[in-house]
Symmetry: D2
Subunit: 332 residues, 4 copies
Amino acid sequence: MPIRYEPDPEADPAGLTYTFGGVEPVASLAPGSALSTWTFDCFGGRVRSASDVVSEVCDPAYLNPQTGPFFIEGAEPGDTLAVHFVSIEPREAWGVSANVPFFGSLTATPTTAMLHPALPERTWYYELDLEDRLVRYEAVDSTFALDLPLDPMHGTVGVAPPLGEARSSLTPGSWGGNMDTPEMRAGVTCYLGVNVEGAMFSLGDGHARQGEGETCGVAVETAMDTVVIVDLVKGVPTVWPRIESDTHIVSTGSTKPLEDAFRIAHTEMVRWLAQLLRISEMDSYQLVSQIALSPVANVCDTVYTMVCKVPKSMLGDVGAYSGKHAELARLR
Amino acid sequence: MPIRYEPDPEADPAGLTYTFGGVEPVASLAPGSALSTWTFDCFGGRVRSASDVVSEVCDPAYLNPQTGPFFIEGAEPGDTLAVHFVSIEPREAWGVSANVPFFGSLTATPTTAMLHPALPERTWYYELDLEDRLVRYEAVDSTFALDLPLDPMHGTVGVAPPLGEARSSLTPGSWGGNMDTPEMRAGVTCYLGVNVEGAMFSLGDGHARQGEGETCGVAVETAMDTVVIVDLVKGVPTVWPRIESDTHIVSTGSTKPLEDAFRIAHTEMVRWLAQLLRISEMDSYQLVSQIALSPVANVCDTVYTMVCKVPKSMLGDVGAYSGKHAELARLR
Amino acid sequence: MPIRYEPDPEADPAGLTYTFGGVEPVASLAPGSALSTWTFDCFGGRVRSASDVVSEVCDPAYLNPQTGPFFIEGAEPGDTLAVHFVSIEPREAWGVSANVPFFGSLTATPTTAMLHPALPERTWYYELDLEDRLVRYEAVDSTFALDLPLDPMHGTVGVAPPLGEARSSLTPGSWGGNMDTPEMRAGVTCYLGVNVEGAMFSLGDGHARQGEGETCGVAVETAMDTVVIVDLVKGVPTVWPRIESDTHIVSTGSTKPLEDAFRIAHTEMVRWLAQLLRISEMDSYQLVSQIALSPVANVCDTVYTMVCKVPKSMLGDVGAYSGKHAELARLR
Amino acid sequence: MPIRYEPDPEADPAGLTYTFGGVEPVASLAPGSALSTWTFDCFGGRVRSASDVVSEVCDPAYLNPQTGPFFIEGAEPGDTLAVHFVSIEPREAWGVSANVPFFGSLTATPTTAMLHPALPERTWYYELDLEDRLVRYEAVDSTFALDLPLDPMHGTVGVAPPLGEARSSLTPGSWGGNMDTPEMRAGVTCYLGVNVEGAMFSLGDGHARQGEGETCGVAVETAMDTVVIVDLVKGVPTVWPRIESDTHIVSTGSTKPLEDAFRIAHTEMVRWLAQLLRISEMDSYQLVSQIALSPVANVCDTVYTMVCKVPKSMLGDVGAYSGKHAELARLR
């Protein structure tokens, strides 16, 4: 039986969690626990139709509320937190996306600062067909529509950062956070390095689906019902977040420029494969060069995220983190 | 019957083609012609075993020789050249890769200049099993080995650039060139904007396979036997190279930093889908945000290449370039 | 009479201030107060000779301690804090610099991740001649030596960031922080936007001098005796830190890649001059294009800082922030 | 007596030189020759008043015409060409600047591709007072005006590139080209590595003055009367362009992102000082970190240029290139 944690759907926005670090835990979990909870959408539920305009209905201080943080008993700096996603399901049969002024990859932003006026602000409303697993795209300037596959995921998953920092849930980094990768689906295990006692795990920012890069900065945003199993790999550090599915191992890196995010993710994979396959770093560099899949995660957040994926089928029998993913997957 | 063009395998390296632009055509082709030819590997055949060291056996002035250029009759600036790849097959049952000093994505380079000494120089020899479609990876520092899927492609495909430039075959750009994307497989059509009379099409740099990003800068390099059909889309310009397969449409962008290559590829896709689906640019931006696949092509060449892929199955019936891909695919 | 705040020179490193935000104030100051205090060097005084190696004597959790934060009475979000530097003087007649593994602009780092081993770790000891205003550079691998001009400054000056964040003192941003610009000399006024009640002003990281860019990441680091006057410009926001001297107005921007830091600093200057000179934004863009001085501040910290300087002599009579700099300069 | 080379002021635009490389020499010069010539402005003289709009009066294929190339007798790959600027004087008492659609540092461009419409196109006309050495800025949207110091320079100076390339005069690189640094004034010597027999030296793009960064992409553009002395340093290669004045030595680097241009310029300076001062590379890295001046040259061209400047007064007696600058300066 999973432990249930129920956020208050009527909570004052000011009372929710918007940072990784700097926040008191909402609950404590023993390693191995299953947690059943839900997350607000990134707008805190304030954008509910195509006529709700983000810059009017949302307070920029209260974007992307997280559920958590959860104190993981026994987690210490130098350990790895393993978060296995048992299920991720939209709470309602709709989602929203938007074009927000000066936010996104194909617009001037506060850091790619230019003299252009903002692109037009718009909101798109998506119907979700949870039975047939479809997301209904409807153009706003014409009657064009398309059915897209439902592919639920969490954009934001992380722990408290090191160095006493508290980081906005809008930002990704070595602690996880707002990585916005579609790889964070049900069925995967996310590995996060523990920086503070108790790890302080939070999650949020559910997407009914998103393209790689999250080009305009906003996916199909939805509140999510989610079940995870949280566990610890004691004494094994993890520098940048990693993900393992039944079919792939995935490393990540988050920074700017995007080639540096690529460099982080791919040095991480070079070192990971060298260790898993017991080959030299140069041999692993060569192997990664021939087998890596390198999709972008986001090019819209305050820093960008790249992933490096390798199909386990190409590697033979590898047991990352002593087989933790297979162990947790058996429990789901 | 394809027209046969046979490069001279014994040619003096100084006599081969190393630039897009600035070179006289080797032959002239009518639109709609099938061309059967072959390409040298990127080392001009000089690296043939794990004991051949690139910096010793290769002259840096003679890297990545191209087959061509071919003058396409009737091609004028403002047209699009369509190159359909009928087949791409390794000429021999081996390939090579290497770690070349100050070249690759995880090392200091002449432009990401640092004070580090070079990483160790190494050559990897790959046996190719052309029947079972396998590429045999063998570590050099241990006895570890793996079989990887054969997936032949051309790293370098392009035309003469605009503005009277002649550009090294080591560089990608709006004219194509050294994009190093694994999307350039048999079965796809590559669309290239024509900048000079006759287009001046060349190709080379065959890879038995490569990872996305071509992390160390060198794929499994092989000489290739290749058949293409070249055709023209008159009066339709193409700003950055595009690719169409039976399943996807693909836009590209090549520059640094990598987020700018992403921006090029994704603005191109936004504009392409707006035109194909007759939707507004903002509606297309939203759609791309939810459906784009955004794999890296290369992060190792003088500038980097990103692609943006969209599954045609999500779009309904779209006929890019008036259905040119389907038309050429029927001929193969 | 300045108010004196005396940090405890024997304080446990764990008890010092290492973040902007997330820390209780050490004292409260009324606007218009002069504050006399001192700051630790960036190593907390642990590197005292050429034989002290940073990675051995320093704990990475306790780098760049700040003096503060000071609660400024009446400061509210939307105000600007004006910090006038009356004097900045080295506390002792020596400073140190170092080459720290994987830190600096000409080396692989944790974010520009590569496979190179670290560059050699070294420490340089500098004698300071406070009378003749000289800094003595002595090579460590030979007997070469040079006298350089003393030019004391603070690398780190800032306030608490917005969005509930707490940011490491190793990082610069819109709140100021570790900008590492040699423009932060005695005689200038630094303008910082207030994000939280009380502003929470801190400073540290004294440099006897530094080159632009702080190429290796470490200047001539010294503890500093410093006197500032702190004041408020009520109701006037400041988005990115600005500096005014008797001769120049200076805007800043901190992010990566470096061209984005340039873009921030220069859009800020375009808007500042448009306002000061009552000209249109396009006219200001043109003017900035012909008169800006654009030195780098740092290319070594977690994000990079650019400044944009304009000589006041070119502009005629401009009174930024209602003449606050001149007003504070008269008090010194 | 300088040799006079007179471009044809009535030449058809198509007959001028727009690339470095790929062009036949216009004249041959012996090393040590003084050359007196003049250069067109970057618009080929087609923008002559505030009502001339660049996108209407200029053909994008014919921007930034160069005077040259000059074949330097005896110049071979591996040598350095030394170009001493004896004088650079505007040919007429006016200059022009402009805001050109999708060109500049604070706008979307073809490579920093975004969905914004272009910023407003504008032309600014500048009166030059060649006697009082002033440049008259006049706003176009109001009556505001300012006198700025005249500071004539060449934006574009270079030789033919390596690898058989021909590069547009709009682009900077290791061959020089469109570096757009205000350091290229009368009185300096520019050192350029020779890549092809005869070096093939050209110059153009005179500016009556420019800000660092050339923010909007267009300086105060003027035709120039220029006298240079060209000389060779035989057997001494130069990887990236360098400049020496009576007071400073300057290294450059041109690429994107801007931090990589910084890295090039500063590794070049580290190696240059190590050689000039006979100190180790680590000692030189430390010294550069404390004394470099690091102004931006351009953040608007197809790639960006950084310079690294060191005051000769700090170094003692150094004779770069065997004292070539002092030797040529004595001849002026």
